[in-house]
Every structure is written in C-alpha cells, then in structure tokens.
C-alpha cells in the first residue's frame, strides 16, 4: 500500500522494482506469521473470543440480568454451566455478555490513544527541534505516573462509568503511542521517497498522512495489540475497585468484585469471570508477540 | 626439524541450517611443529575461522558440528577428550585471539580482572602472584601496569588487542591461534601489534597459526603457509617454496592480484568470478569455475593431494601423473 502510494503520486525512478521489493517483504512477514505457533494460537483464541462477543445473544442461554431468586448461588450444572450468582443470574450468560464490554472498552481506549498519540508523535517526529523537545518533556512527565494511578485519579475525579474508564485508560497510553510513532517517523522521514514527495510540492499534512503514516503502521499495530491486552486488564481492575461498570452491567471485573464476597460459598462466581479475562488477554498477548516476531525478526526473543 | 605439535587429519566441520548443510571445513589436513608459525590464508568465508574454532572446540553448536577428523595435539587426539579435559587445554596450552578487539573484552570487568582470571584458572597461584603475573604480561605487550585498573572502553583498539594478546599468552601456551588479529585496526597500529606478536612468539617459543588474507604479513612472520579455498586446503608449503613456486592456480591467482611496489606493473590480474555460495558449492574441484587452467577432469571430483616436495603439497589435477601437464 505504502509503495503504491509513493509510486503513483510521485514518479520515482523504477517504481516497479520498489513495489516488487515491498510486496516480497510483505510476503515474508506473512510467511513468518504463519510459521509462528504463538501467533496462530493467539489468533485462534482471539477469533473464539470475538465470535463469543458477536453472537452473545445466540450463545448465552439466559438474559444477563434475568434474576431468579429461586436459584441463588447454584453450583455449575447442565442448566447453569457456570452456576448462578447471589441474585440467581446465570454466570455463564453474564460472562458471555461481558466479552462485549471488555473488548469494546479495551479496543476503543487503545484506538483513541493510537489516534491522538499517533498524531502527536507524528508531529513531534516530523518537525523535530523545539516542538519535539517540548512534547517529549511533557510525555516524560506523564510517563512518570504509573498508568493505573493516573487512571484511578481521573476516574475518581469524574465519576465511575465505563466511558470514563475508557478515557482514563486512553490518556495513559497516548504518550506511549506518541513515542512509538515518533520513533518510526524520525527514521522514515529520512527516506528518499519522502524527499521526492517534498520536491514535488506535497504539503506537510499530505506527506505525513500519505507517505509516512502507512509506513509507521507496523509498530503501532504490534504495540496496539499488546496495549489492548493491558487495557482490558486495567478496565477490569478499575471495575473491581468500584470505579468502572456499575451493577447490573455484566462486566468481568465488577462480577469478580461481587464474587469476592461469596468466595467461601460460591467459588464459581470468582473463578469463571477471571478465567475469561485471562483467556482474552492471553490471546491478545500471544498475537502481539507473534506479530512482533513476524514484523521485526531482529526483536525475536 | 622439530617435534610435531599439532596435526589435523581429515577435519570436517559442518553448519546445519534450514537452507541446507554448509561444509565450512571439508576434510583438511595440516601439521605444525613446536615453535613454528603457520599462515592460514584465504578469502572471507573460506573456512579459516571455523578451522580455528574447531581446534578450540568452540564451534557454535547449533548450528555447527565437527563431523569427522582427528585433532592431535602433543600426541593426543583432542576429539576424544572430555569437555572438562578440553577446558583445561583451552586458554592454557592452546590460546586464541580474535578478529575484533573492540568487542572481545568484557565491558564490565577491569583489564586486571580479566587477565588474572585466566591465570588463576590454569595455574595454582595466590591472588598476589596472579596480580604480579598480570602486571608482567601487560608490561610485555607494552601497556603501563597502572592502566590495568581501567575498563576496556577506556582503551583504544590497538591497546585492547594487546590486552587480548596478554590474556592469550598469560599461561605460556604451546600454540597460539590468531584470527586476523590486525584487520580491524588502523594500518599504523597493525604494524605495532604484529611487532609485539613477533617479539613475544620468540620470547615464549610457541607455535602459532596466523589466520589472514594478507600474504605480505605471512611472508614476514610465518615459516609455513596453508592456502584455503571453500573449506579445502588447496596448497600447503614452506614459505620459500610457496613464494618461489606457487603451484595451485588459486595461489597463483592470489599472487597475481597483489600489487608489487618493486615492480612497475601496469595491470593487476584479479581472479575472475566470486567465491561460491557456501550452500551451492560446485561439484568436483571447488575452484574449477574460476580456474584459468580448468580441465574436464576437474568437474568430476576433488583432486587428491600431490606431494611436490616433502614440504610442499597441492590439491590439483595439474600435478596428477598422467592427467596434468608435466608431472614432477
């Protein structure tokens, strides 16, 4: 995609050769990705999680808020696969619906921070000098607050809700994305095809959006995958201490918070939502690790 | 003629990779006598370093592996030795110095630390004796002893190589393997380091294998030369025979590609072609695609070694009776 853009808008010498090289590079990445067992297992697990989220209505046997006081705190059975909670709600159904919430919160928190942080990083890396210096100092300061404390401060100030949780997490990852993008932009902007575009009179905005960003995408995707994993953990944590989703939302962290009160009599209320978090986060971590190895074999660990 | 110190017979070292097996060293023979210097000459990728690592039993495994051959040192076949026994020979009886001095010293230990370590390891000495010995060794390679307290990054490249020489010689080895010890250094420093090595070799009366691609250096230091090409030793001779009567076409090619400052040659004749990819070696004699004297027989199998004189042998069909031009 990147080489195509530069090939069409700029008459670089021998665009064909360049295109071919890039394409084979992509083929090489794809080959390494297919070879990586971690990436494939992660991809498979994530696909399962996604299917659960999309078809939650079909998969869940009961409504997530359907209370039935006759069957309170029932252990797992054929009817209630993961038992029932203190209000007689089906834990399995709640876990299934919880998939939607966690994925949405994690994904959008990271998307927001990728867009905002990416833009800041691109500006910082592209213009360099004073702007870069100022932005990087601010980023250093934000990074010197542990992300979870920052999120706690923000959500406790603005009130507990999933939207605030999402924004608070996004603020924590924005400087991290800015750093990643800034790094790649600084390398890419030295490339010849950027000079060629500039000679032909392309504006800065056009150069950044059409020529530089597509090339800086790979590290953003890798980091993004790993950040979604961390964001899901954080969102669950914030809900656990009462700052995120409010009952009766079937959020995994909130479910665990309730489950903790019943851990001596109803272990299933604590075990299954946590397992769901672990599997979802693990799938993203596996995928992210695999993607990193495929995109940058030098970093292979 | 002195006593045989090291004899290598049919040594084969292969690298086994995803893209196929690379015979980096493919059945070589050579021998060195006590106190003698052997120049191991060849282009990059000819298998010189792998040969040296094979003798040290330091071939990186995986992917490398010694698949065949004997390494006889002081009458004992080293390949039959246990790892523990081998360890006691390394750095003690046989030492090695490497190509890139910049990265060959551990950055977090002082020069004294690294020098004393090898002395304490192989000799039963007290700490103060080890320090004393370390100071002597630094003096021998021309480094003021007070600099021993410093860390490697405070030394220049030439100084680091001197330190590495001091480490290698600290236990009075019978054999020193020097793998292109000067290529990474500035030209002026190269001469100094070579001078130090020449001098110490005499003082310690040790044998040396000098790996290089520079025939000039060989002519200054060595008594014997082995010419290596694509994992094979194609010619093995004493210095005089090799320089007066180079016999293998590859050796002749090497000489022709050196500018001679004494003669007024207008044109050099480089060897045509490139050294083959290690995974795609040609069949028959590995040199035949580049050889000016190539014959039909060369494409079939690798030639047996022919003895031109007791100190001069060559692996080329040109010298095979009944096949080549004039037999000896």
């Amino acid at each position: 995609m990147a080489s195509k853009a530069s090939g069409q808008s700029v008459a670089v010498a021998a665009p064909e050769a360049k295109k071919k090289k890039k394409r084979s590079q992509r083929a090489e990445v794809w080959r390494r990705f297919k070879k990586s067992k971690t990436a494939l297992i992660g991809f498979g697990l994530l696909a399962l999680v996604l299917i659960t989220a999309i078809f939650a209505d079909q998969i869940a046997p009961h409504p997530y808020d359907g209370m039935n006081l006759m069957v309170r705190r029932q252990p797992p059975s054929a009817e209630y696969l993961m038992g029932t909670d203190q209000m007689g709600r089906c834990v399995f159904s709640r876990v299934v619906y919880g998939t939607r919430i966690s994925l949405v919160v994690g994904f959008f928190a990271v998307l927001i921070s990728a867009i905002v942080g990416g833009t800041i990083g691109a500006i910082s890396g592209f213009y360099g000098d004073r702007i870069d210096n100022l932005i990087m100092r601010i980023i250093d300061v934000i990074l010197s607050i542990p992300p979870i404390l920052l999120a706690i401060a923000i959500v406790s100030a603005f009130g507990g809700s999933l939207v605030n949780v999402m924004i608070a997490i996004a603020i924590g990852y924005t400087p991290r994305f800015a750093r990643v993008v800034r790094g790649s932009v600084m390398t890419i902007k030295e490339d010849e095809f950027v000079d060629a575009a500039r000679v032909l009179g392309a504006s800065d905005v056009r150069i950044i959006s059409k020529h530089i960003m597509p090339n800086a995408l790979a590290p953003v995707i890798v980091q993004g995958t790993l950040f979604v994993a961390m964001a899901i953990l954080q969102a669950a944590g914030l809900s656990f201490i009462g700052l995120g989703a409010q009952p009766p939302t079937p959020e995994w962290g909130a479910m665990l918070s309730t489950g903790q009160n019943y851990i001596r009599d109803a272990w299933w209320m604590s075990v299954f939502p946590g397992l769901a978090i672990a599997v979802t986060v693990l799938s993203l971590n596996l995928l992210g690790d695999g993607l990193r190895d495929a995109l940058d074999p030098r970093l292979k660990t | 003629m002195g006593k045989k110190l090291l004899e290598i017979k049919g040594l084969k070292v292969h690298y086994i990779t995803d893209d196929g097996t690379v015979p980096a060293v493919d059945g070589i023979d050579m021998e060195i006598e006590e106190g003698e210097s052997l120049g191991l000459v060849g282009e990059t990728g000819a298998g010189k370093t792998t040969t040296a690592l094979g003798v040290m039993n330091l071939v990186p495994d995986p992917p490398g592996e010694i698949v065949d051959g004997e390494i006889i040192f002081n009458g004992e076949n080293l390949r039959e030795k246990s790892r523990e026994a081998y360890r006691k020979i390394r750095g003690n009886k046989i030492s090695m110095i490497f190509q890139d001095p910049m990265t060959s010293l551990n950055p977090v230990y002082t020069v004294f630390d690294q020098l004393e370590e090898v002395i304490k390891l192989h000799q039963k000495v007290s700490s103060s004796e080890a320090l004393q010995r370390a100071k002597e060794m630094l003096a021998k390679v021309g480094i003021p002893e007070e600099r021993g307290e410093e860390y490697p990054h405070q030394f220049s490249g030439g100084m680091k190589q001197r330190v590495l020489i001091a480490i290698a010689l600290a236990c009075n080895p019978a054999l020193l393997i020097a793998d292109e010890p000067t290529t990474a250094l500035d030209v002026t420093i190269q001469a100094q380091v070579l001078e130090v090595m020449k001098d110490l070799k005499k003082q310690f009366n040790m044998a040396m294998i000098l790996i290089t691609h520079d025939l000039g250096v060989v002519s200054e230091i060595c008594e014997k030369v082995a010419i290596m090409y694509a994992g094979k030793i194609v010619e093995f001779a004493d210095l005089e025979s090799l320089f007066t009567k180079p016999s293998h076409p590859y050796t002749v090619g090497l000489f022709n590609s050196i500018p001679d400052p004494e003669e007024d040659v207008t044109e050099l004749t480089p060897i045509k072609g490139l050294i083959p990819e290690p995974t795609e070696l040609p069949p028959g004699c590995v040199f035949h695609p580049r050889c000016p004297d190539v014959m039909e027989v060369c494409k079939g199998s690798f030639p047996e070694t022919v003895e031109l004189s007791p100190t001069h042998r060559v692996a080329c069909y040109k010298y095979h009776e009944g096949i080549g031009g004039e037999p000896k």
Partner: protein, 332 residues
C-alpha cells in the same frame, strides 16, 4: 559520575512539578465540589460558598496550584474531607506496609524471573524454555486481583476445608511474615513474568557477544561464563525493568491490598474513592507517584554503579550503549 548524578537530580525537579501539576489539574476539573463533599448534601448554597472561600477554591487556577505546591514543599498533602486528618500522616502510617509488600513481591519476581530467565536463555528453544515462556505469558495475562482471589480460594478456603487449618492467612496483617506470603506472591507474579522475559532476551543478546567467546576461549567453566561474564552484562537492562516494575507494584498494590484487606496505602486510597474523599485520593495518588519517581531516580543512579561505561565515560561526547536502546523497546 558526579555530573551524571547532578544532571539526573536537576532533571528530577521539573518532573516532580509536572506530576503534581497533572494530578492537581485532574482534581481541579472535577465536576463535584470539594466544599459540598466536605459539608454534606444538606449544606445551603451560602454555607458552601463560605466553605469555598475558606478552602481557597475561588482563587485563580494558577494561584491555587502555587499554594498547593508550596504546601507540598512543606509536607502538606492536604487534609481528608471527612476526618480532617493530614493526608501525609495517614499515608506515612500505611506506606511502610505497602513498601514491605512491594519489596516482598519484587523479591519473588527477581528470584524467579532472573533464575528462570537465565536457564531459559541457556537452553533456548528447549522444552523447558518453551514451558517457561508460556508461563511467563500466562503470568502477564492474568489479572493480579483475580490471582489473589484464587490463592485465597486454594490456600485459605479449600485447604482449610480439607485439612481443618489455614495454610496462610487470607487477610489482614496480624500474622507477620506469614500474612505477607499470599499478597506478595499475588503482587509479584506478573513482575516475575516480565523480569523473566527481559532477562531471557537480554541474556540471549549477551551470549552472542564476542567477549563471551573470549571467556570460553580462556577455558572457563560454562557456569562461570554464564553467571559471571554474561549475567552481569545482561542484568543492566533488567535493573531498569525491575525499577519500573517496582513502581508498577506500588500501583498494583491498590488491587492486592483490596483483595487481602491489607492495611496499606493502596487500600487507603480505594476507601477514599468509595467515600469520595477527593483530597485523600489526590494526596495519596500524588504521594505514590512521587515515590515512583524517586525509585526511578534511584534506579538511574544504580546504573552508574553497575555499568562502568556510565561511571567513567559520562563526560565523553557520545556513548553508544546497546542496552539503553533495548530497554526503550522492552521496558515500557
């Protein structure tokens, strides 16, 4: 060396001011009014207005920030809206417990992480290496508060159900070291996984270096090559990660302390959140953030001790140290 320390110390001050500014701004923008929270819902508009005046909430933003900062310098982190006790004093009572917990977690993380990381790197791609890496990945994927709940379930609920006594206490801090075991294990698990991954990748890089070949050529035992020559170099980036992780443990303690009802500063903040005591949240978060910055400062100074290149060469115009680049890639 001195220039390095001085430079780091000078750099530290604006960071502290910046951190304070961010935390202060967040609380300033809060929709709820601290005066209302302090007086309760029944207060009249007039009372609230008087309280705002008293608390200085009507002054311009920068003036408020300035006086907050000035208070901080004198050790005034504000007072609880409910109990009117100074936040600093309340934190100082609980913070040592949190530090002890974090230190316990870190000890577990370092011992497991470094040891397994080294073994894993020496036997790269072996079966045990694969298992170790898998465990590490699971370790960073499991939410630590859930892991804590599971340890309670196994050691306190099931164990005592089966054997009639509890192996480790599941809450409080009355049983000395024994009550520290489960919380420290919970807190340290994900850090152990991260330290393991960092140690392994750092060792793999170091083991490829020329000086390792030199060490082997000396005839050293493989054990000495690995633990003396390789590990000391490989530990330098690990120290960075351990430092960062220690800071994250202070944050993670919020959850662990909640799960185990551990009397530390994290649970104190969570209780303040539940009672909407914003001054305590602000002061507490700031306190932990400053502690985190201090630890990072200490780690930076520790480099100078471990890495002679920084110790002696800081004056040099350029130094190119590979691990610094690697830390940037893995550390965050």
């Amino acid at each position: 060396m001195h220039r390095y320390i001085i430079k780091r110390l000078i750099y530290f001050i604006p960071v502290l001011v910046g951190v304070t500014f961010i935390v202060f701004t967040i609380m300033y923008l809060t929709p709820g009014c601290p005066a209302t929270i302090r007086l309760g819902d029944q207060a009249t508009t007039e009372q609230i207005e008087r309280m705002r005046e008293l608390m200085g909430l009507n002054r311009p933003f920068l003036v408020q920030f300035g006086s907050y900062l000035w208070g901080l310098v004198q050790g005034d982190f504000g007072r609880s809206l409910h109990t009117n006790r100074p936040v600093l004093g309340e934190m100082m009572i609980r913070f040592p417990n949190t530090m002890m917990l974090a230190a316990g977690g870190m000890a577990i993380a370092v011992v497991i992480g470094v040891l397994v990381g080294v073994l894993s790197s020496v036997k790269q791609y072996s079966f045990s290496d694969t298992i170790a890496m898998l465990f590490a990945l699971v370790g960073i994927s499991v939410p630590n508060f859930w892991f804590g709940m599971m340890t309670i379930l196994v050691f306190a609920v099931w164990w005592s159900g089966a054997f009639g006594y509890s192996l480790f206490p599941s809450s409080g801090f009355d049983d000395g070291i024994r009550s520290l075991v489960l919380p420290a294990l919970t807190l340290g698990t994900s850090s152990a996984a991260i330290v393991l991954r960092m140690t392994r990748s750092s060792m793999l890089e170091v083991l490829r270096q020329d000086y390792i070949r030199t060490a082997r050529a000396k005839g050293l035992k493989e054990r000495v090559v690995v633990f003396k020559h390789a590990l000391k170099n490989a530990l330098i980036p690990v120290v960075t990660v351990v430092g960062l992780q220690f800071g994250f443990l202070l944050g993670g303690a919020v959850f662990t302390e909640t799960v185990f009802s551990f009397p530390g500063s994290g649970r104190f903040i969570v209780e303040a959140i539940r009672s909407r005591d914003l001054m305590v949240v602000q002061g507490g978060v700031l306190f932990l953030a400053i502690a985190f910055s201090f630890i990072n400062l200490l780690v930076d100074l520790l480099y100078a001790v471990i890495d002679p290149r920084i110790r002696t060469q800081y004056k040099a115009q350029q130094w190119n140290i590979p691990w610094l680049r690697r830390v940037k890639k893995y550390g965050q």
